[in-house]
Symmetry: C2
Subunit: 204 residues, 2 copies
Amino acid sequence: MSKDTTTEAKIKEAAKRVFTNKGFSGCSSREIAKEAGMNVALVNYYFRSKEQLFNVVFHTVMDDFMLSMKDVFRMKQPLETKVRLFIEREYEFITKHPEIPGFIVSEMNRCEVGDSNKQFIMDEIAETGIFEEMHQAQITGEMRKIDLFSATLILMSNCHFPFIAKGLMQEIHHIDDEKYAQQLVLHKQYVIEMMIGYLFPAKK
Amino acid sequence: MSKDTTTEAKIKEAAKRVFTNKGFSGCSSREIAKEAGMNVALVNYYFRSKEQLFNVVFHTVMDDFMLSMKDVFRMKQPLETKVRLFIEREYEFITKHPEIPGFIVSEMNRCEVGDSNKQFIMDEIAETGIFEEMHQAQITGEMRKIDLFSATLILMSNCHFPFIAKGLMQEIHHIDDEKYAQQLVLHKQYVIEMMIGYLFPAKK
DNA sequence: ATCATTTTTAAACACTTGTTTAAATTTGTT
DNA sequence: AACAAATTTAAACAAGTGTTTAAAAATGAT
């Protein structure tokens, strides 16, 4: 018996679809209930409030987002390979869920996001040992001596922005969804080349 | 007599402050009126609707955003210098108006944004002649042969994302506003180095 | 089958929202 | 000063919002 057919699960999945596309303020409990095919009172029955439902959804989205990232970081592979794989995985995951980076980023700028949802992201990634590896690689000279903040920001900028700014980029370049997806495949190669070339200069 | 003291101007400026921080759905006409110190009915009197007011504000923000960008592109300078100056100007402008890239990007993803607000951005930038310059530079080998889409996307990713993802990055790295600003100064140097190194490889 | 518990339904509630209305006030024109 | 036009004010309106309530229906336990 699949758990995804329970009322609670239906509401949660519907909420995930609606919240990730429209954000917390951009949709109503009634819209979510309609999306789930349920009565609006059930939002409060199962989740106590719209806010609580949002927190549950946000937590779930973050977990999914980080899960396969952590898998890549735990691999026994050279650091440069791991970074390449990380970028590949980001593009792959987000291509399937293009609304997620924008959702996470904008809701993280909202002060109403409950503190309990501000995951201890760094701790979870640190557990994989990736930061130690980066540190060592900088000592041996394999990796450019650049602070962790900038290293992560460079990677995230080039992996997430292309999806976050889809509307704007389509307007700028007058392209439709299909063409956009094609361009991103090519774009990924360029940014891999650029970032790897910069972060691991010794290979040049 | 400064035009900025008229009722219309006061409402517009207040709306700019509120819309850029909270987006269209995240605030109400009453909130904007309160911010302006005016009665809410005046929103409709002067701008006919909340939607129209938003369109006016969006148009203004886009114009400001692009104005100095175009100034840089029109300069009589070598292309590489122009690109450097462009990046400098982006960081400078957005440091003063950190809410703007996130605002533009997220509202551009909203289907409700009026088509009249989808500026013919490309045309305006093309007028500066920058794209011809880039094309020529690719022919002469000065600039990497990379399609325009990816070139613009690389530049925008590394200039805008650091501001858009402020909340997330602060959470990841446990840093406050002041420290974040400091890190961005350093980060700018890294991304200039990376992007210029990639886009203009002949200089290596 | 009976009863207890849980879930669902639909309406109600109090508040918020964008907009409209009508009257009061201010400004402009002669 | 008189009148017209523009602006401002405050209330009203209709619809939407998150939440609560009470009753009906479904499910679980014996």
